[in-house]
Symmetry: C2
Subunit: 201 residues, 2 copies
Amino acid sequence: METLTPAQQELYDWLIEYIRENQYPPSIRQMMKAMELKSPAPVQSRLEHLRAKGYIEWTEGKARTIRATNEVLRGVPIRGMIAAGSLVDAFPDADIEYLDLAGISLKPTYFALRVRGDSMVDAMIDSGDIVILKPVSDPKTLKNGTIVAARVQDQTTLKYFHRRGSKVTLQPANKNYEAIEVPAAQVDVQGALAHVWRDYI
Amino acid sequence: METLTPAQQELYDWLIEYIRENQYPPSIRQMMKAMELKSPAPVQSRLEHLRAKGYIEWTEGKARTIRATNEVLRGVPIRGMIAAGSLVDAFPDADIEYLDLAGISLKPTYFALRVRGDSMVDAMIDSGDIVILKPVSDPKTLKNGTIVAARVQDQTTLKYFHRRGSKVTLQPANKNYEAIEVPAAQVDVQGALAHVWRDYI
DNA sequence: AGTAATTTGATACAATTGTACCATAATTCT
DNA sequence: AGAATTATGGTACAATTGTATCAAATTACT
């Protein structure tokens, strides 16, 4: 990403902070005051440079429509990789990745279920975890081995999905439970496991 | 939550969808056109009712500052509880909880690390998972048993934190690794484990 | 040192925009 | 049926706001 001049950086940082706090972007004259400038022109200039360098964008002519193009506002920065022994890598600030949590929450069809019990321990899903599911419109597009929330015989459970011909096998993610095999027509797949979330604090 | 009249519901739904798509709220006259109304007054009326019923809020006098007060835009709805046998509960639409993912991404100090290897299997954290950490300013406020990213002897690792007097024990989340006990002064706690995230698709 | 790029100040203009007021119609509720 | 609430259309106004223009000052770069 192209580097910013001090003036541009100052505005950019303030802009991000403002959006974080207010949930909407400031007007040009608000930025002017915050930067302690006496005219809107310098702000315009900085904004145009920020846009040219790919940091922001806006809808021309519309008030308060500036958006950050990168993921600063949409997620948590992934700063490195950690293994048994040590922090393997601390990624350099420049090419840092973001875990786009806000992006997930913009997908209006996703839904979540809270897990209770040990039914999924073998998939490393603990009691209390939250599983985030993507609705499945056409079960034929499902790959074998994906974990799905499926309804069979009046019971909805989370299981590994396998199809062989017209039969579907639902394999639990805990060895202590039994797999079931039924005709595909009897299985109503409600969602495919997309993410797992766990809270510690 | 108070119920909405059809006209109010129509506006509210459109509003949420607009914000989702554009990342900023519409102006009153845009809503007017979308609702196929011929004057801004009806929109004003509906907005005031939506605000009175607690669905939205805005900064008076400022353009495009409408915000949804509930978590519709901030997270994934938690629709029920799932256990080994069955979907235990499908929560009624009214009092549905949301997993506030967008809220997490607004905490600017949080950071994440990608886990590699089996160092945390006993904590149900798999290779490839992403751990989200909250910076720890004062290690004295840490409760025993929390998982932390700590730096000792030039190595940063994720371990259970225990303090007894002036000594700190760092217990790995995998039985095959050894615990270490060092003077508290030698431990630099960088973050406490706040959340775990796992991607399936 | 000299040139280019950026920043600044000042001002101006028009479109966007929130808001207010009023009378009437439609809907909902009792 | 009657009353209260909500919805609508029309209009008006002023503040907010994005944008344009120009010249001068400052900074960055070669």
